[in-house]
């Protein structure tokens, strides 16, 4: 049991480390396509951490929605705009040193804050099990209204995305 | 409807104006017919009101009263009597005929007819408002459409004329506004209500000052010498129907103001200013006559003749007796019909010849016999030929002024001779003599134009032959007014 726990701990930390590495890959790689692949890896890694946190349903959603849908979208767009994106061009702008300094400051400060904060972790909360059924009941019961609102937003945004992305007919009409 | 007949009369044109706004720009026929039918309806309403009008009664009738701005005790108060009702009737007729005359407007018809109907609302409101504040509002409402009507559809110097008209009149009416406020604050309780204000007593000094303020506003509108110079410009530049309205109705607003406000509110001041008014009247009559004699522009001549003829109204007012008042009131009505007709006739000629130069015409009597006959008719009416309305009113004015002062009457008769001179001189230059070959292609007056003139001719003759048809409506009110003025 202890060993198992240890392995799983090691596994989780390893996953975390790997995810961070891939995350760095997302922001640092020159080839955008590689970036996207790294993002996929990050997402999958996060899904694994979800599993470790007993959020299996969310992990599944993460894989399906993110990796399945959003990533596809991203990759399509990358390919559509690819011929122009010279991999040789500098992919970061001039403010990266400043950004690094600022962000490190934030990370340090927030990190200390996080470590020092006495989080009210309760055993009851730790023991609670969340089944898919209870999630479904909450979604359709307590959170039915936000759920519907989200669905409307989703539809509206998709239609909007289509309208925006669509080529203007009149634009290419005369030529 | 019977109880709100005056409101209907005032606001029907406004309804028509909004109806015009909803018609597409291009449907000019529809716009014209909407306007015409509106003016016809207003005229019909005026006739209906005539049925309700009790001629034997001296006070206000058909009163409509509603609180408008309670904080300042401003009321929506309409009413009519023997002074305002003839003016309402005149406005209805002149508006109808001038609308017929407006059918020749060729550009921006929609705006034109909208403004035209707005103008009619303003005029009607001015004549029936019995609340000083409401009166002032209507008085100013008249200015705005008039400004645009002259400034857009006028002749070559239209902007100048329109601005001059607007600023001049506005300057006068601001003094009037001060006067109105003075009356308001002097009254206790503070009120703009004419029916209450008439009975109150005011100090002589206060009366004099406020009388002068009102006088300035009204004098510019009449116009009384030396405030008359906007008139020739506005008349000459305005399109024909607007000249007709200007001469037929707008000028009367000034003298109406004397009858309605200056005299009943400030009777002591009126008596005090009597000699001054008589002198101004004489100056206007003689001066206008002489200047009209010197004109070569047809329209300008008629405009100056207005100055002269409106002088008779002032003379009757200055006489301050029964005959003077009757004559002045009748002169207001007859001048509206006669000068309106003359302007229409100038327009008829101008439409054909595109010239108003009196010296350039000649011999049109043979070329346009019907036009010649009608022009002669109106000229004779204007110079005060008996059996036409102008004679009766001038006779009554002279009779009244004779009772006041013989010298004044004697001098004013010079104006009558001058009227005959400049009108016959005009007739000679336009109609008589050899035909200028340049005008050999002019066509005679057509049926529609005769139709616009015929009602005026009928009115002129009817009043001239039997003046009681209109005087009987005025006399009780005027006698009541005389009692107030003479204490």
């Amino acid at each position: 049991m202890e060993i198992l726990e240890l392995f799983s701990k090691i596994g989780i930390y390893a996953t975390m480390a790997l995810v961070l590495v891939f995350a760095l890959g997302v922001v640092a790689l020159r080839n955008l396509f590689h970036c996207a692949l790294c993002l996929a890896a990050v997402l999958i890694g996060t899904a694994m951490i979800y599993v470790a946190l007993h959020a299996e349903f969310l992990a599944a959603v993460q894989i399906l929605v993110y990796v399945g849908a959003v990533m596809t979208l991203v990759i399509f767009v990358i390919m559509l705009t690819e011929h122009l994106g010279g991999k040789t061009i500098r992919q970061t702008n001039r403010q990266s040193p400043a950004a690094i300094i600022g962000l490190s400051g934030i990370v340090v400060l927030l990190g200390t804050l996080l470590m020092k904060t006495p989080w009210p972790v309760t055993a009851k909360a730790l023991d609670a099990k969340v089944s898919v059924m209870s999630l479904g009941k909450a979604l359709m019961g307590t959170y039915a209204f936000p759920f519907e609102v989200i669905s409307v937003i989703l539809i509206a945004c998709l239609i909007g995305a289509i309208v925006i992305a669509k080529k203007d007919v009149s634009e290419k009409g005369p030529s | 409807m019977a109880s709100h007949i005056l409101s209907w009369i005032v606001f029907t044109p406004l309804l028509g104006a909004f109806a015009v706004l909803f018609v597409p720009q291009r449907s000019t026929h529809l716009i014209k017919w909407i306007t015409l039918s509106t003016t016809i309806v207003v005229f019909g309403l005026a006739c209906v009101a005539l049925g309700f009008f009790q001629a034997s009664q001296g006070g206000f009738q058909m009163i409509e009263r509603a609180l408008w701005i309670p904080q300042f005790n401003v009321q929506y108060l309409l009413g009519t009597d023997g002074i305002s009702f003839p003016m309402v009737f005149l406005t209805a007729i002149i508006s109808l005929l001038a609308c017929l005359g407006s059918f020749g407007i060729k550009e921006r018809e929609k705006e034109y007819f909208f403004l035209y109907l707005l103008l009619e609302t303003g005029m009607m409101g001015t004549f029936v408002a019995l609340d000083l504040f409401l009166f002032y509002v209507f008085w100013e409402v008249v200015l705005v459409p008039m400004y645009f009507l002259i400034g857009i559809w006028g002749g070559p110097r239209r902007e100048y004329a329109a601005i001059k008209f607007f600023l001049y009149t506005l300057a006068g009416s601001l003094f009037m506004l001060l006067g109105i406020l003075g009356v308001y604050f002097a009254a206790s309780p503070h009120t703009f209500d004419m029916t209450q204000l008439v009975g109150m007593t005011r100090g002589l000094w206060f009366q004099k000052v406020v009388f002068l303020a009102f006088f300035l506003g009204f004098a510019i509108k009449v116009p009384i010498f030396p405030f008359h110079t906007w008139l020739p410009d506005a008349h000459v530049e305005a399109p024909t129907p607007i000249s007709v309205i200007l001469a037929g109705v707008l000028l009367k607003m000034g003298t109406y103001g004397f009858f309605r406000f200056s005299y009943p509110l400030f009777p002591d001041a009126a008596v005090w200013f009597q000699p001054a008014m008589a002198v101004l009247a004489i100056l206007g009559i003689v001066y206008g006559g002489f200047v009209a004699l010197a004109q070569t522009d047809f329209k300008k001549m008629v405009a100056y003749s207005s100055v002269s003829h409106m002088g008779f109204v002032l003379l009757g007012l200055a006489a301050m007796n029964a005959n003077g008042f009757r004559g002045a009131m009748l002169q207001m009505f007859t001048h509206g019909t006669i000068t309106g007709g003359l302007f229409l006739l100038v327009g008829v000629l101008y439409d054909r010849a595109h010239s108003r130069d009196l010296n350039g015409f000649g011999g049109l009597g043979a070329q346009m016999p019907a036009y010649a006959g009608i022009l002669t008719f109106f000229s004779l009416a204007s110079l005060g030929l008996p059996a036409m309305s102008g004679f009766v009113s001038e006779f009554l004015v002279l009779l009244g002024s004779y009772q006041y002062s013989k010298v004044v009457t004697g001098l004013s008769t010079l104006g009558i001779i001058l009227a005959a001179t400049y009108l016959l001189y005009m007739v000679q230059r336009v109609l008589l003599g050899k035909l200028n070959p340049k005008w050999a292609a002019l066509t005679d007056i057509n049926f529609k134009e005769v139709l616009t003139l015929a009602p005026l001719m009928v009115l002129i003759l009817a009043i001239g032959v039997y003046p009681r048809i209109i005087l009987d409506y005025m006399i009780p009110t005027l006698d009541a007014l005389l009692k107030i003025v003479k204490g």
Binding site: L39, Y50, H54, L58, V61, I78, G85, A99 | -
Partner: protein, 103 residues
Amino acid sequence: MIIPLQHILIFSLLLFATGLYGVLVRRNIIGILISIELMLNAANLNLIAFSKSTSLAPETGQIFAIFVIAIAATAAAVGLAIVLALYRVRKTVYTDEVNLLKW
């Protein structure tokens, strides 16, 4: 809970910082969008971690995470559509070349 809450929070902080760094420095708009996804992920992780360890109603965190995923998807869709439109008009996907808001 196998590992302490603080560690997960630190991890998500680092993930968030990395994403923010990407947003701040990447020139390619698509890169920025991808980085935003990273940030959203970090936030989701926080939601789940807190719901697992401190909340009395354990479903809440997960449900909000689902909402966030949904919103993230729409954001990606709209954002990418804008990228396409921009690309079509300006022939570029680099932020420093799109500076109409400049003084």
